[in-house]
C-alpha cells in the first residue's frame, strides 16, 4: 500500500518534472520568495531577488537531477519577455526626453567615457589575469542590461548565458559600492550620481538610485538605455580592434 502510494507519487513526479508548466511555476515561485526576502531585508541591494531565485532553482534542479535544458523548456516563456521589455525601455526615455535634451552634452560625454571604461577595463583585467578569450568576450558587455548584454555577447562570440551571470554579479556589486565610490570622488550632482549607477550597474543600479533620489533614478534609467545603444555599437568595434 505504502509502496503503491510511493510509486504513484514517483510516477506523478516523472510526469510533472518534464512539463514546462512545472518549471514555469517554479520560476515564478522562486522569484516570489526572492522578492519577499528583498523586502524583508529593507530592500538592501545585498539581498537581491534574482540571486535568491537563482540559488533556489539551481538547488532544486541539482537536487532532482534535472537538466538545464529541461528547466529552460518551461522557463523560456519568462525568458522571451526580455525582448519586449528591452523595447519597453523606450517609454522612460521618451518620458524624460526634455531632461535628456537639456543635458545632452554631459550625457553624451559620460556615456562614451563610461561605456569604453566599462568594457575596456573589464576585458584588460580579466585577460591580464589569465581568463580565456571566450570568458573575456562574455565579460565585455557586463555593465549593460541583461537582454542587451546577451545579444552583444552572442554577436561577438561570448557565451550569452554566462554573460547573464556576470551581468547579475556586476549589478549587485555596483548597487552596493555606488555610494562609497561616488562619495570618495566628490560627485554630488544627483544627475551624475544616478547616471553613473545606471551606466555601471544597469537595472539594479537604477533601482538603487530610485531609492535614494528621484532625479538620480531618472538619470540612471536614461543611462541604461543610452549605454545599451553605445555598448552595442562600440563593443563589437573594440573586440575587432583588440582581437588578433
Amino acid at each position: 500500500m505504502t509502496l503503491g502510494g510511493h510509486s504513484a507519487l514517483a510516477g506523478l513526479w516523472v510526469y510533472l518534472h518534464a512539463q514546462p508548466l512545472f518549471w514555469l511555476s517554479a520560476t515564478l515561485a522562486a522569484y516570489g520568495c526572492g522578492a519577499a526576502l528583498h523586502e524583508r531585508a529593507g530592500r538592501s541591494p545585498a539581498v537581491n531577488a534574482v540571486a535568491v531565485a537563482v540559488g533556489l532553482l539551481v538547488a532544486l534542479l541539482l537536487g532532482t537531477g534535472t537538466s538545464y535544458a529541461t528547466y529552460f523548456e518551461g522557463a523560456q516563456f519568462v525568458h522571451f519577455l526580455l525582448g519586449p521589455a528591452t523595447v519597453a525601455l523606450a517609454v522612460p526615455m521618451f518620458r524624460h526626453r526634455h531632461v535628456v535634451a537639456r543635458a545632452w552634452l554631459p550625457l553624451l560625454a559620460a556615456v562614451l567615457a563610461g561605456c569604453v571604461t566599462a568594457a575596456a577595463s573589464a576585458m584588460a583585467v580579466a585577460w591580464a589575469l589569465g581568463a580565456d578569450w571566450q570568458s573575456v568576450l562574455s565579460l565585455a558587455p557586463k555593465s549593460v542590461t541583461t537582454p542587451i548584454a546577451m545579444g552583444i555577447s552572442e554577436r561577438i562570440g561570448g557565451v550569452p548565458s554566462f554573460t547573464a551571470v556576470l551581468v547579475m554579479v556586476t549589478g549587485i556589486l555596483g548597487a552596493i559600492i555606488a555610494r562609497p565610490v561616488l562619495d570618495a570622488l566628490g560627485v554630488r550632482d544627483w544627475r551624475a550620481r544616478g547616471f553613473a549607477a545606471g551606466l555601471a550597474a544597469h537595472g539594479l543600479g537604477t533601482a538603487r538610485a530610485f531609492q535614494v533620489d528621484q532625479l538620480a533614478g531618472t538619470f540612471a534609467g536614461i543611462a541604461v538605455g543610452l549605454n545599451g545603444i553605445a555598448t552595442s555599437v562600440l563593443v563589437p568595434l573594440l573586440v575587432e580592434v583588440v582581437g588578433r
Binding site: 538545464y68 519568462v78 528591452t86 521618451f94 571604461t117 591580464a128 570622488l185 550632482d189 551624475a192 553613473a196
Partner: protein, 118 residues
C-alpha cells in the same frame, strides 16, 4: 492592450529584421527600442495602453533575468577555473566605471552651466 503588445512585438520584429538583413552589430530589441522612441517622438504622445504594458514589463524586469541566470549551473567548471580573473575584473571595472562616469558627467555639466552664465 492587444494593440500595445502588438506595437512592442512589431518594433522588436522590425529591429530583428533590420539587424539580420543589414548585419548591424546592434541586437534587434535595441533597434526596436530606438524605433519605438522615434515613433513616440513623431506622434508626440504616449497611449495609455502602451504606457500600462511597458510599465508592467519594466516593473518586473528582474524576473525575466532568472531563466538565463540559472544557466550558472552549466558554467560551474568555468567559474571554478576563472573566478579570480573574472571576479577581480568585475570589481576593478565596476568601481572604475562608476568613478569615470560620475566625474565626467559632473565636470561637463559644470562647464556647460558656466558657459551659460557668462
Amino acid at each position: 492592450m492587444i494593440g500595445a503588445i502588438f506595437t512592442l512585438l512589431a518594433c522588436q520584429l522590425a529591429g530583428e529584421i533590420v539587424s539580420q538583413v543589414l548585419h548591424v552589430p546592434v541586437p534587434g530589441p535595441v533597434l526596436g527600442m530606438v524605433l519605438l522612441v522615434s515613433l513616440l517622438v513623431w506622434r508626440g504622445r504616449l497611449g495609455r495602453d502602451l504606457e500600462a504594458a511597458c510599465g508592467f514589463l519594466l516593473q518586473h524586469l528582474s524576473l525575466f533575468f532568472v531563466p538565463a541566470a540559472v544557466g550558472v549551473m552549466v558554467h560551474g567548471g568555468r567559474i571554478a577555473r576563472e573566478w579570480w580573473p573574472l571576479g577581480a575584473a568585475i570589481v576593478v571595472s565596476t568601481a572604475l566605471t562608476l568613478g569615470v562616469t560620475g566625474v565626467v558627467f559632473q565636470t561637463v555639466a559644470r562647464w556647460v552651466a558656466r558657459d551659460i552664465q557668462t
